[in-house]
Each structure stands twice: as structure tokens, then as C-alpha cells.
């Protein structure tokens, strides 16, 4: 079993990457794009390992591979968005451009991995252009993004673009059954709801989001007061936030160094708050996603009467009993709430409005 075999369902990217190595045609700039949680990062690291620990495609125990795992290989540079604004700024790019002109230390080339490359602001992208096309030293840039259209066309055209697709539902199910303690029925339902994104599937199993959302839509369809439902839902959101806060604090205390000035501590607090915000936001968006998928199922089932097209496969009973009128409009209402939340409107109001719109 080689290192690439741990990545599932990405036949085209893997064949490409393998052939790059086999035929010695590794380009100097790659753009890995596709939905999150399908193996872009894993492939990038695997490629780095094979390039830096030559002829050891299967050997994950070699010194170079271990260094990569621990994040301290001198020739591997990984860049991710930082701080509250989640931006990759010009300074960070200039920093790695400097390195790109230097000879590699241990391996025979330097590898730069830029996660969420679309978070590079326009000046940062412009700084990268010349180096990306004609690097002075031997180097490989791997840009990873979910939204390639947010990158400058001049950046995109300098990279070989490698597309990562969604995983097949069967694959997601298999991995869930292997890595989590779930029943086959549950695994199947989650796999089809997760739309081929492994991180989402794990998240749905590990948290009670799906139960909460299904409970909400059931109660709304049974004609319960949307006001009461929304209050309970907001209470749940608040409790999740508390949960994240304690989690982030505990993690910081476990690794944090005691020697901090007052400014440092203030900055740390800011960053922690930003992290909690991001986690909450992600959670809420995921729940909206689940709602949208639910009403999509209602729409599709009422249009075709065919259970095969339904994604929430374990909820057929609820689907048949739920008399939801005009699911199309409800999908629109969920989408509208998403737009409002992205513009940082008050969550309480957005959800109250949404639940009134979703009530029959």
C-alpha cells in the first residue's frame, strides 16, 4: 500500500500526481481545487513526501516523512490564513518568495503549500505572480482552494489546475463504518446528506446537529409555534458557543506559554474570540445546509414520489407524514437567511424570521 492509496475516489488527480513523479514532469505550480474535505490537503502532503523522501513512496517512517508530519521539514513551507480577518497578507507571501530563491537544504526542491489560497488579498496574489511563473530556484507551489474563481486569472493561468471531485456516497459510508461507531443505516443516510465531503460527514456523526435540525423541521411542520421553536433553537446555539469557548480555552491553556505581556494576552484573547466566532458561524451554516437539504427532499419527493432521490434516507417516515406546503419557497427562505447571516445580521432576528417563513 503506497501513500496515495489512503486517498479515495480521486482517480484523476492521483493518476496525474503519480505520473508527474514517474515521468519527472513535476510542474512548478499546481492549483488543487474542489470542495472541502475531499483530500486536497492530503494529496499535497503526500506529493511533498514522495518528492522529498525519494523512492520511498510507501515508507512513511523515513526521517524526511516524519519531519513533514511534525511540520519541521526545512524545505516544506505551509501557509494558511491567520488572524481574525483570515487573510494571507503580502508579508507572508514575500516571506516565502524569499525562500523560493534559495537552494533547498535537505531535499532537492522546496515545496510551498498555500491553504485557502483564495484568502490571499489581491496585492499578495500580484506579488506571487512572477515567482509562480519563473521561480529562481527549484520549487513547487501547491495552491489549495475551494473557490478558484476568487483567484486572479493571471494566477490561475500560471498553474496546472487539478480538480478534486466529491467522494462517492459509498466511499463516505465505508469510511464512516471504519472510523466511527455507527449503524449501517445511519452511515448511509449521513453519507448521502454529506454530499461527498468527508469532513462534513464526520461532523454530522460527531455532533447532534442533524437531530436538532430534524427536530426543528418536524415541529414546524406539525404546526408548533415558530416563536417557541426559534427560542429553543437559539438556546441550543448559545450552548454550543459556550461549549466552543471552553474548548478553545482549554486547548490554549494546554499549549500556552506562561510568559506573556499584557498586549500579548489581549491579542491572544482576540484571536480566541475570533476562533470561537468562526466555529459558531460554521456550525450555523451547516445547520442551514441541513435545513435546505431537508426541504429539497420534500420538494423532490413531492415532485417524483420516488424514494430513490431522497437524501435523508433514514427519515422516510417523517418525510411522508410531513405536510409541507411550497418547499421551493422554503428553500429560498433558508438561502435568504444564509445571505443575511453572511452580512452579520442579528442571528436572533434572522432565525425568528426564518422559522416563521418555514412554518406552515
Amino acid at each position: 500500500m503506497t501513500i496515495f492509496d489512503t486517498i479515495k475516489d480521486q482517480d484523476v488527480p492521483l493518476r496525474l500526481v503519480r505520473n508527474f513523479i514517474k515521468r519527472k514532469r513535476v510542474p512548478n505550480a499546481l492549483l488543487f481545487w474542489g470542495p472541502s474535505g475531499v483530500g486536497k490537503g492530503l494529496t499535497a502532503i503526500a506529493l511533498a513526501k514522495v518528492l522529498m523522501a525519494p523512492d520511498e513512496e510507501g515508507d512513511q517512517g523515513s526521517l524526511a516523512a516524519r519531519k513533514i508530519d511534525h511540520g519541521n521539514h526545512p524545505d516544506l513551507h505551509v501557509l494558511s490564513p491567520v488572524k481574525k480577518s483570515r487573510i494571507i497578507d503580502v508579508d507572508a507571501i514575500d516571506f516565502i518568495i524569499e525562500f523560493a530563491s534559495l537552494h533547498p537544504i535537505e531535499a532537492d526542491r522546496r515545496v510551498f503549500i498555500i491553504h485557502e489560497a483564495d484568502r490571499m488579498r489581491a496585492p499578495a496574489q500580484n506579488h506571487l505572480l512572477k515567482t509562480l511563473e519563473e521561480p529562481l530556484g527549484k520549487s513547487l507551489f501547491i495552491l489549495i482552494t475551494e473557490h478558484p474563481q476568487l483567484l486572479l486569472p493571471t494566477i490561475r493561468s500560471r498553474c496546472q489546475r487539478v480538480r478534486f471531485g466529491r467522494l462517492r456516497a459509498e466511499t463516505v459510508k465505508e469510511i464512516l463504518l471504519r472510523d466511527r461507531d455507527v449503524s449501517p443505516g445511519q452511515a448511509e443516510a449521513v453519507a448521502s446528506v454529506a454530499e461527498g465531503q468527508m469532513t462534513r460527514a464526520f461532523d454530522l456523526i460527531d455532533t447532534d446537529k442533524r437531530d436538532v435540525v430534524l427536530d426543528v423541521v418536524r415541529r414546524l411542520s406539525e404546526g408548533e409555534d415558530p416563536m417557541a421553536v426559534s427560542e429553543e433553537f437559539l438556546k441550543y446555539v448559545a450552548s454550543q458557543k459556550k461549549h466552543f469557548e471552553t474548548g478553545v480555552k482549554a486547548a490554549a491553556e494546554a499549549t500556552g506559554s506562561p510568559e506573556l505581556t499584557r498586549e500579548d494576552r489581549a491579542q491572544l484573547r482576540d484571536e480566541q474570540a475570533a476562533l470561537v466566532d468562526a466555529l459558531c458561524r460554521h456550525d450555523i451554516m451547516e445547520m442551514l445546509y441541513l435545513m435546505e437539504v431537508w426541504y429539497r427532499d420534500v420538494l423532490v419527493y413531492s415532485a417524483t414520489g420516488n424514494a430513490e432521490f431522497v437524501l435523508n434516507k433514514d427519515q422516510m417516515a417523517l418525510l411522508e407524514s410531513a405536510g409541507v406546503s411550497d418547499p421551493d419557497a422554503k428553500i429560498g427562505a433558508v438561502e435568504k437567511s444564509r445571505r443575511y447571516l453572511e452580512r452579520f445580521l442579528n442571528e436572533e432576528r434572522v432565525f425568528r424570521d426564518l422559522f416563521f417563513a418555514l412554518a406552515n
Partner: protein
């Protein structure tokens, strides 16, 4: 492992003479003639989209100016003299290539101004190539102005950028401006064929066409896709390989989608989406392709010349047949709706849901609501009414919309009365008087409530009524009601 570092095709095939530059004849010819006649401007501005030869042309021009094979600038640089070789390698001491994005401050420009005064050390001209010049700060641009207008005789500036609108007008007016064009599919195909032959790669014409189409006018994009495919494929690059690597959907799928829409078959449509998802393709791209497909159908339907499509012939034939089954209005509406969907799709929570919801909406609605067909039916109705010579339910239903002329005459006498009392409310008076008058006796007598009901259920009537409300409303009716 990789001792000899791989150089990507786009760099290996960077043109070294003006004759090799593809699709920019209007520029290469001008530049060559200028060099031949010795009328060399001191500042050039190269503008154009990504990967079509701006930097390349700048380097070739530098070679033309400094080639030592002749004793004056030549339109055909030799490529073998010391200057030509070092310019191609980027190491010439008198050709200074500056990354405008990283050196964008006033300080950087001041440095250029200091250095530009020194005479070139080994060549005729000192050439400054400032790439990505749009990234210079406003202050930096201004600092450059004087030098750009009157540089020392040995200096030539070449500015290159993708974004012309970010360049101050004062800079543009001091330069000779050259606008690079996107390269046509045929030029791209010819270039790709040349590269394939030289690299010893077999590649079908269909595949080349698909690559050229995906490159969207960019030479570097085309070369980069080809490079990738050479890595991907074993012996020959086929059409299918291109589609697999780029994640495109075969056009047959789009045709079955059209068929599904025409047949109002929701199951077929959902199955297509399911298949696209299961094969790991990107739904946003798929939606783009649907949009492009309907755009192409629209082009065919409107009778525009076929070369606007830039499609292979077999596909055009199939499309012409498909276009016949839609009316112009339908196609316009489809294009509009898919354009709306694509514009917001990237940020949607669930792209699949958005696409499926639209398809279901389209399939459930009768597509056949073109103005033509409605007018046709209207004419038919009128004939029918005359033949019957009896009060049709139509005027009764229309009461809400434009008032029949007979209604106005009984109202008229009351209007002047009000006008006398209040001249101000003249316009409003007419309006209120209309609502004041209860349903005229002469009209309402003939209308039977059951008749009204029957009229409403008649699809023709309801269609006509909707037209008269001032817009064509989506009419929900069973397809079998159609003629």
C-alpha cells in the same frame, strides 16, 4: 530524484521571435516595422488578458533592439549572439525586468530614475521591462512620469499589464499603447498541434479542440492544459481524457437534459444531476455548461452565423435539431434563469439543491408561454366568439383590467360635476368615479357565476388574462392541456 528540473511547456515554448508569437499579428507587424524603420518609441504599454504574449513580446523586442548580429536594431533577432542568449535567460545586464507588484513604491521608481541615466554597458539600449505595472502605487506612477516622457536616448521602457483601467491616463498618453487580443480557437489548435508534433505526443483533433475551447483565448492556459494531459495520458490524448481531466460533461448529457425539460420529466432531470454528482463533477461548472448550451441554442435560433458557436460540426447539427423544439422566448427565459442561478451558485449552501429546485420548477411549468403562441390563441378565441355570436365569458373576466369602452360613457357625465367642485382632483376624479360606479347593470346581467368559473378554468382564457395584466406570468397547468 528529479535531477533535471522539469520545465513546463508554457516556458519551454515561450516564443523567441516575433514570428512565433501566435494570434497577435497586428502587434508583431507594427513592432517589426518600427524596428526596421528605426522609429523606435521610448515607451511601450502592452495590455491584454492573461497568458497571451505580453511579457514574451517585451523580451523579444528587447532582443530586437540589442541583438549584436547586425550593427543596428533588427526585426529578426538572431537568438544566438551573447545578448540574445542572455536576454532569453533573463540575465542580461542591460535588460532589466522588474516585477511591478513587488517593487511598487516611490523608492523603487526613484532607483530606476537614478540608474536610467547610466549608459548601457554592453548593448545599444537599456531596456526596462516593468511587468504587472498596474500594481505601482499612485505616487510611484507620478514619480515615473517625467522619466517616461523624456528618458535619455539609450533608454526604452516597456510596461506590461492585464488591467488597463488601473493605469493613470498620464502614463498611457506617454506610451505607445498595444492591446493584445485573445487568441482564436483555430490559432490555438494550430499551435497545440505544432507542440504535440514536436514533443512526439499523439492527440486527436477533437481533443485539441476541447483543450483550445477550455483555454478561453489564453495561450498559456492552453499549453498548461496540454502539459497536464501529456502527464495524464499513456499513449494518446483522447477526447475522453480531456473531459475527465477538466471535469467537463459530454454534450450528449446536455441534450438529454433539454429533452427532459421538454418532456416535463422530473425523474430524468434528477437522474442527470445524480449522475453528474456521482461521477465527481463540479455542479457549478455543470451549470455553467448548461448556460452555455442554452446560449448556443439561442444563437442558432436567432439565425446567427455558425462560426459564433465555435463548435465541431457534429455538435452543431445536433444543436440545430434541438433548437427547433424550443421557441425563442423559451430560450431567452432559460438563459436568463440559468444565468441567475450561476451568478449566486458559488456561495450557495447546497449547489445541488439550487440546481434541482430550478430544474423541477422549469419542468413543472409549461414552457410554452411565448407571446406568439398567446396571440395566436387570442385570435382563435375571437373567431370562436364571433362564430358563436353569444356573450363569451371573456369580457366578464376582463372587467378587472381595462374597462370596456361602454363603461366610460355612463361615467362621463359625473366627471365634469366633480371637476367643477374641485379642479385639482381632475385626474383623480376620473379614477374614483370609476371605482365608485358599481358594476354596470348592463354588463353584469349577462354574466353567470358558473360561466365565470368555467372561463377561469379554460387555459386559453387564463393565459390571455395573464397577458393583459401586463406581464407573462408563469402558468401552472398540466401539459396535456396544451394543443
Amino acid at each position: 530524484m528529479a535531477d533535471d528540473h522539469y520545465l513546463v511547456l508554457a516556458r519551454r515554448w515561450r516564443p523567441q521571435t516575433f514570428d512565433d508569437v501566435v494570434g497577435q499579428n497586428h502587434i508583431t507587424r507594427t513592432l517589426q516595422n518600427a524596428v526596421r524603420a528605426g522609429r523606435i518609441s521610448h515607451a511601450f504599454l502592452f495590455i491584454g488578458s492573461r497568458g497571451i504574449g505580453k511579457t514574451t513580446s517585451a523580451r523579444i523586442l528587447a532582443k530586437c533592439l540589442n541583438c549584436t548580429s547586425t550593427d543596428k536594431p533588427t526585426p529578426e533577432p538572431c537568438g544566438t549572439c551573447e545578448n540574445c542568449v542572455s536576454i532569453a535567460a533573463g540575465s542580461n545586464i542591460d535588460v532589466i525586468e522588474i516585477d511591478g507588484a513587488s517593487n511598487n513604491s516611490v523608492e523603487d521608481v526613484r532607483q530606476i530614475r537614478e540608474n536610467v541615466r547610466m549608459v548601457p554597458s554592453r548593448s545599444r539600449y537599456k531596456v526596462y521591462v516593468i511587468d504587472e505595472v498596474h500594481q505601482l502605487s499612485i505616487a510611484a506612477f507620478n514619480a515615473l512620469l517625467k522619466t517616461l516622457e523624456e528618458p535619455p536616448p539609450h533608454a526604452v521602457f516597456i510596461l506590461a499589464t492585464t488591467e488597463a483601467h488601473k493605469i493613470p491616463a498620464t502614463i498611457i498618453s506617454r506610451c505607445q499603447r498595444f492591446d493584445f487580443r485573445r487568441v482564436g480557437i483555430n490559432d490555438l489548435m494550430a499551435l497545440l498541434r505544432k507542440i504535440c508534433d514536436a514533443e512526439g505526443v499523439a492527440c486527436s483533433d477533437e481533443a485539441l479542440h476541447a483543450i483550445a475551447r477550455a483555454a478561453d483565448g489564453g495561450v498559456r492556459d492552453a499549453e498548461s492544459i496540454l502539459d497536464q494531459l501529456v502527464s495524464y495520458c499513456d499513449k494518446e490524448i483522447t477526447f475522453k481524457d480531456v473531459y475527465d481531466v477538466l471535469g467537463l460533461v459530454e454534450w450528449q448529457v446536455l441534450h438529454s437534459l433539454c429533452e427532459g425539460l421538454r418532456q416535463h420529466d422530473v425523474a430524468v432531470l434528477l437522474r442527470i444531476v445524480e449522475d453528474v454528482v456521482a461521477s465527481g463533477k463540479d455542479l457549478a461548472e455543470f451549470t455553467q455548461e448548461i448556460l452555455r448550451h442554452f446560449r448556443n441554442l439561442l444563437v442558432i435560433k436567432s439565425g446567427a452565423p455558425e462560426d459564433l458557436l465555435s463548435l465541431p460540426e457534429t455538435e452543431v447539427k445536433e444543436m440545430t435539431r434541438s433548437a427547433e423544439s424550443f421557441t425563442l422566448t423559451e430560450l431567452i427565459r432559460l438563459v436568463e434563469q440559468f444565468a441567475e442561478l450561476t451568478s449566486g451558485l458559488e456561495s450557495q449552501l447546497a449547489q445541488r439543491t439550487a440546481l434541482e429546485a430550478l430544474l423541477i420548477r422549469l419542468a413543472k411549468r409549461t414552457l410554452d408561454v411565448s407571446l406568439d403562441s398567446v396571440l395566436e390563441k387570442l385570435a382563435m378565441l375571437r373567431e370562436g366568439a364571433m362564430a358563436q355570436d353569444a356573450p363569451t365569458p371573456l369580457p366578464a373576466r376582463k372587467r378587472a383590467a381595462p374597462p370596456p369602452p361602454e363603461k366610460k360613457s355612463p361615467v362621463a357625465p359625473s366627471a365634469p360635476k366633480k371637476a367643477k367642485a374641485k379642479a385639482k382632483a381632475k385626474a383623480r376624479g376620473a379614477k374614483t368615479s370609476r371605482t365608485d360606479t358599481p358594476a354596470p347593470a348592463a354588463q353584469s346581467e349577462t354574466v353567470d357565476p358558473s360561466e365565470v368559473k368555467a372561463a377561469l378554468e379554460d387555459p386559453h382564457i387564463s393565459q390571455v388574462v395573464d397577458v393583459f395584466k401586463g406581464r407573462i406570468v408563469d402558468i401552472h397547468e398540466e401539459p396535456e392541456h396544451n394543443d
